[in-house]
């Protein structure tokens, strides 16, 4: 569907091939090749016999798939509800969106223009149902607009292949002499029901007909639910930097939020590039807000990460995860709310340094020191099961305990002298030991227990030292000593 570089000229038959069961088969063919009689699905060697000057290239099916998925999102410039339809189609639910483009016929012209600017050939149709649009786009006249009561007349002359049936059913219908959709429509309903009573949707002409006529519902499920509240800026020419447009967009969005009585927790900035691609920048806030200056400040360093490509001509700013907020006045003079300032501070820090850099440590119920602390989000509620501490704990903890070299071990208590970070410490006084056994429900088997000592060296530095294991505990060699923290 989409190839970079030099496209082959229009008068050369070119086909794309994919691997079949007995060698490569035709995946798709261009117009000249189809005129020459190339049938998609047949083997390449057979088609070479028909058309010796055939050029064959291998199809990139995964790449086409991804490109079509991108095109689905790109097509949301016309309406908010789009989905992929098979391997080669898009379905757009344009209900209520056509008048923005000057009617359905003008909308189709606009779509075809924009798609041809991308280098894509498109066949478009508007119809009341998905099935009717599918058939009219593939087998109907160019840019058909089908009203709600014209489905019967417009689809009647089209071939039965327009009913989205599988190949055995099409073969069966052809053998029965039913060549057009109108012929199938004229067959009595009871006969069709009796003939295809056990067939599934793909092989059931009656159900497909009901879908075409709108008697059987076929909803379009879009890729994701779009946020309702959004502001957009359409630009006359492609630009590369969205920064000058951001304040206006933020103000517009916040006005809409204020009108709806909502505040947003997430913001999606989307730029629609001229080369058919889109880029996102997402920011999140820790509390619902609708302050344009604050929202604008969250994008401060992020817009530089947008890859503009060849420029973009449409910027939208959408509010995701909206919540209701009420204006609160905390002081008589209409002063600001202090809590709000704290949430804004957290937002600014999280937006600049990432949400993982801003945390709040809380106590957890565990005796092992490195597990006694949990990192939660900065403004999250503290869990209720706060642990009660009975023993003195150091003011600082090292992330990884550092092993010390024992110079002078004594049988009881901590070593009399040890080297930590290339400095000799002589233990003047100590308190302990405090024995902390491994948590057997979490730790690996063979984990050794720890005896913690608070030691004070000759200069008065107070360290938290522990011995891992005991002599003759059968879990390794001699016990080792580690520094784990510092007391004040």
């Amino acid at each position: 569907m989409e190839r970079c570089g030099n496209a082959p000229p229009d008068d050369v038959p070119v086909v794309l091939a994919r691997e079949g069961q007995h060698g490569p088969v035709i995946h798709a063919a261009n117009r000249v090749a189809r005129i020459e009689g190339i049938i998609p699905g047949s083997r390449v060697v057979d088609m070479r016999a028909i058309c010796p000057e055939l050029q064959v290239e291998y199809a990139d099916e995964a790449g086409d798939h991804a490109a079509l998925d991108r095109l689905v999102l790109w097509a949301r410039r016309w309406c908010p509800w789009t989905a992929r339809d098979g391997d080669d189609g898009l379905i757009l639910d344009t209900t209520g969106a056509d008048h923005l483009w000057g009617g359905e016929a003008a909308m189709l012209v606009e779509m075809e223009t924009q798609l041809s600017l991308l280098g894509l050939t498109a066949r478009l149709a508007v119809a009341p149902t998905w099935g009717a649009a599918w058939a009219l786009a593939r087998f109907g006249p160019v840019r058909t607009v089908c009203g709600p009561d014209e489905v019967y007349f417009k689809l009647g002359p089209l071939p039965v292949a327009g009913l989205r049936l599988d190949d055995p059913t099409l073969l069966l219908l052809r053998r029965l002499g039913l060549k057009t959709i109108g012929a199938v429509m004229d067959v009595p309903r009871l006969s069709l029901t009796r003939r295809f009573v056990k067939a599934g949707l793909q092989a059931n002409p009656l159900m497909r007909l009901d879908q075409v006529m709108g008697k059987l519902a076929e909803p379009v499920s879009s890729v994701e639910t779009k946020p309702v509240i959004r502001a957009q800026a359409r630009l006359a020419e492609p630009i590369f930097d969205p920064t000058p447009h951001l304040p206006d967009l933020c103000e517009d969005l916040c006005a809409q939020l204020k009108h709806a009585g909502l505040g947003c927790r997430r913001l999606h900035l989307t730029v629609y590039k001229t080369d058919g691609d889109i880029s996102h920048v997402d920011v999140a806030t820790s509390a619902p807000t609708r302050d344009p200056a604050h929202l604008h400040s969250l994008f401060r360093d992020k817009v530089a990460r947008i890859n503009p490509g060849f420029g973009f001509d449409l910027i939208t700013l959408a509010a995701g995860a909206v919540e209701e907020v009420q204006d609160k006045q905390t002081r008589l003079d209409g002063g600001a709310d202090d809590d709000l300032h704290l949430t804004r501070l957290i937002d600014r820090l999280s937006a600049k340094f990432g949400p993982r850099a801003v945390t709040r440590p809380v106590l957890r119920q565990s005796h092992v020191p490195e597990r006694a602390e949990a990192q939660i989000a900065a403004l999250a509620d503290c869990p209720d099961q706060a642990a009660v501490l009975t023993k003195e704990r150091p003011l600082r903890l090292l992330d990884h305990p550092e092993e010390v070299r024992v110079l002078y071990a004594v049988p009881e208590g901590p070593p009399a002298q040890f080297v930590w970070r290339r400095q000799t410490h002589r233990v003047a006084r100590y308190a302990g030991p405090e024995r902390i056994a491994p948590e057997w429900w979490t730790d690996r088997p063979g984990t050794r227990l720890r005896d913690y000592f608070k030691v004070e060296d000759q200069a008065g530095r107070r360290l938290w030292l522990y011995r891992e294991g005991l002599h003759e505990d059968g879990r390794g060699g001699d016990p080792r000593w580690f520094v784990h923290g510092m007391f004040a």
């Binding site: 804004r344 801003v358 106590l363 003011l395 600082r396 107070r462 007391f487």
Partner: protein
């Protein structure tokens, strides 16, 4: 040698510290791995339940560890910000000082980065005074060069006080405090004893011998000779 409450000792101009505005102060631990500076800072923070914004750069965290919640003197919320560069630490502190609902802002910077110059400290000091939030900059392995901090402390550990029940164990921690530059109080040196249970610091003038001057002993030499 009487033990004085810190309030009286610091009130060189007869002003109570409750009325002194919160501002920027720098603490230089004599040994980088020593937690005495942290203990001193925590004992000087205003006694409220407002959260503390605690900003650390990567080297401080790696070399001197992170603050442990279990060891903090009072149960007050801490918002930790782990950053990698000193310039980011200063940015985060400055942003935090715009928020009046914070109890304090504590920043830890390792060494003498170029970002931490006189202008940066002046910005922090002005912001802290404008918002009336106390701001502490803990500088390890740093030289006390030009800075706009209103108070500059040098803190070291001393052998702790005797334990009341166990002669072998360390008791209340003691620190050597050196206020070597201050705008609002008289510089001086103290020995502080920190009572963890009461969260209270007692100060005493250091009882040590005077330094030997070059002329000392000359008279006796002449008399002997």
């Amino acid at each position: 040698m009487g033990s004085l409450c810190m309030h009286k000792a610091l009130a060189g101009q007869g002003e109570s510290p409750a009325l002194m505005p919160h501002t920027l102060a720098e603490v230089f631990p004599v040994t980088p791995t020593d937690a005495a500076g942290i203990g001193f800072v925590l004992s000087r923070l205003p006694r409220t339940n407002a959260p503390i914004l605690w900003v650390q750069d990567r080297l401080s965290r790696k070399e001197a560890g992170r603050p442990a919640v279990a060891g903090l003197p009072r149960d007050r919320p801490v918002i930790m910000v782990d950053l990698s560069r000193a310039a980011d630490v200063l940015w985060a502190m400055e942003d935090g000082l715009r928020c009046r609902s914070l109890g304090a802002v504590i920043g830890e910077v390792w060494g003498d980065p170029p970002a931490l110059d006189f202008t940066a400290t002046k910005r922090l000091a002005l912001r802290a005074e404008a918002a009336d939030v106390s701001c502490w900059l803990i500088r390890r392995a740093a030289s006390p060069d030009l800075s706009a901090a209103r108070d500059r402390w040098r803190v070291a550990s001393l052998p702790s006080a005797p334990h009341p029940h166990d002669a072998q164990a360390p008791g209340h921690p003691r620190w050597a405090l050196d206020l070597f530059r201050s705008r609002r109080a008289k510089p001086g040196q103290w020995v502080a004893t920190y009572d963890r249970a009461a969260d209270r610091v007692d100060l005493a003038a250091p009882a040590r011998d005077r330094a030997v001057e070059p002329r000392d002993g000359a008279v006796r030499e002449r008399a002997a000779g």
